[in-house]
Symmetry: C2
Subunit: 337 residues, 2 copies
């Protein structure tokens, strides 16, 4: 966390406590307002506009049986995002957020669409069960693509989502190697595996994890096991934090991108707000490692940035509280007797 001058902290605390409400009575909203104020170095913070960027990419190991869905679904869902029909689009429209979609490496021929941002590294990663998912140069390019995208735009709040069949497996492997944990502690059902599917996924991921030492440097973990969409997202988080944006962290996969971004650039930590606790099994471990207490707990496990979007109104309201609410003095209201 960036060190703030003590007088800023004291002024901030006083500004929140003198609002026309009992001290502390807005609970987590007060904590949130304070964090937003620190990110923006302002007692009049703004969180009124928000952009969701969805990163899509395919995974070489998807064919091996780590997902309940066929790999084609990544491409089909990309079309669904571009047409505005997915859950993320609908939530964004309902709440007033912008959406942009980035092809980081979807399998097959490049998708042609005027509203698609193309940052393709390759038509999908290599199969990470057998060898590195990408080269070091590819990993660097994806990070750099992300950094630029993350830094763009005048929106103070950034949500990042992802789409990629097989990417909970990729995220589990990255998290295991960043945290030095057995991958089995980070495996879940993804978008809907049954018990037999889960056992098969566990065996495949143990094989993939066995290829490398128990703990890896962040860039190595991303190169060995990353999806292009996860690496690009990690880069975007670094870029957004450097640009002073508030970053709303979605669920398991975005949480692993956050772990990666924080491992690469520890000074980004202050910019993250954890939106929700996912129903995906590995998320609890990731949240522990991030020392995160998410705002929402709605048993969601969709990805796409849907959980991040749903937390944005809380962030917007928290900023407005600090910026616009009357003080006891300005409103002529008596304090406790």
């Amino acid at each position: 966390m960036t060190q703030q001058p003590t007088d800023f902290e004291a002024t901030l605390r006083r500004a929140i406590d003198l609002k026309t409400k009992p001290v502390g009575s807005l609970g987590e909203v007060e904590t949130l307002a304070a964090q937003i104020a620190r990110i923006q170095h302002s007692l009049n913070p703004v969180a009124d506009t928000c952009r969701l960027t969805i990163f899509a990419g395919d995974h070489g190991m998807a064919g091996a049986g780590v997902s309940a869905y066929p790999q084609d679904v990544t491409r089909q869902m990309l079309a669904n995002f571009l047409a505005g029909g997915a859950a993320a689009n609908v939530f964004a429209r309902s709440l007033g957020a912008d959406v942009q979609v980035v092809d980081c490496g979807v399998a097959g021929e490049p998708v042609e669409a005027p509203n698609l941002i193309s940052r393709r590294i390759a038509p999908g990663t290599a199969n990470a069960i057998e060898g590195p998912a990408m080269s070091g140069a590819e990993c660097n390019r994806a990070l750099e693509n992300g950094r630029k995208i993350g830094a763009e735009g005048s929106h103070p709040v950034a949500c990042f989502g992802e789409m990629g069949i097989g990417n909970t497996s990729s995220a589990s492997l990255i998290a295991a190697k960043l945290l030095g944990l057995p991958v089995t502690e980070l495996i879940g059902r993804g978008t809907g595996l049954d018990d037999a599917g889960l056992r098969a996924k566990a065996a495949l991921l143990e094989k993939a994890a066995g290829r490398t030492p128990d703990q890896l440097e962040p860039q190595t973990a991303l190169m060995e096991y990353g999806g292009f969409e996860i690496v690009t997202m990690a880069g975007a988080m670094i870029g957004a934090a450097a640009a002073g944006k508030i970053i709303l962290v979605d669920g398991f996969i975005a949480g692993v991108a956050t772990l990666s971004a924080r491992a690469l650039k520890p000074e980004t930590a202050q910019n993250f707000i954890y939106a929700h606790r996912s129903a995906e099994a590995g998320h609890g471990r990731v949240l522990e490692a991030l020392e995160a207490r998410p705002l929402l707990n709605l048993n969601m496990r969709l990805g796409e940035g849907t959980g991040a979007l749903l937390a944005w109104p809380l962030v917007k309201a928290a900023a407005a509280m600090l910026r616009d609410m009357a003080s006891f003095e300005s409103a002529g209201v008596s304090g406790p007797s």
Copy 2:
């Protein structure tokens, strides 16, 4: 809960399951969408506009030492609401909700303001520690005032908030008598009592509770211990439910108004969505009695409808999901393999 035709339930379940997402992956948002669809008898539900109505009233027992704040604060906060400076106003503006303010019986001379709705029963209740807070006729008038206010307006979502120094005490007593529990199980610090203040409040409320039998009929409980703002809110909930509105229930005091409304009119139950778990001690008991699992848990305890407002975007997004999201078929996306 109103019995729905089975074919509506089956059609609703199928509509949610065929959206382009793994079945169940939006968790509580799916449950919420289904409830909204039932309330509106529609697979294309709408929750895009919301009105917060704040009910204000004073309590005869406020002078006895049940609150950390002087009674004048009710009137001062009424002015703050009318000027748009309170937390509820700021949240409502930030999220796009309307606010209206109702004087149900603030102490002193009537407040004159063009944007205030005056439904005064009396300048505050009688001291409920010593005798009934209001007469049966006053209670009926407050309920009827509320019913009319609750039924008005074309907004599909209604939030109800309250302001009244001493009203956590009133709510604790009403809840104790509705549930047949010792009042001590429903007492909290309100807006900020210390330990000594809490002990004194408990002694006063035990005395108040001792005046009447352990369990009371809802109308009797409201008459004996009600605040005019709580009774008017209970009436407004009944009126809003009859008008087919979605009612977002705020914290402890609104929860007790809900208990009262449901006791008076059990058919209202389906219309309530529980917004948040308050930090006020008695709220857990009230939520249990309501069999409610609130959407948010942000350690808030302010009242005014602030928690209800923060949950509105979730309701709005849930309705939009069911109404606007593509299906696997319409988007040409493959299901699980």
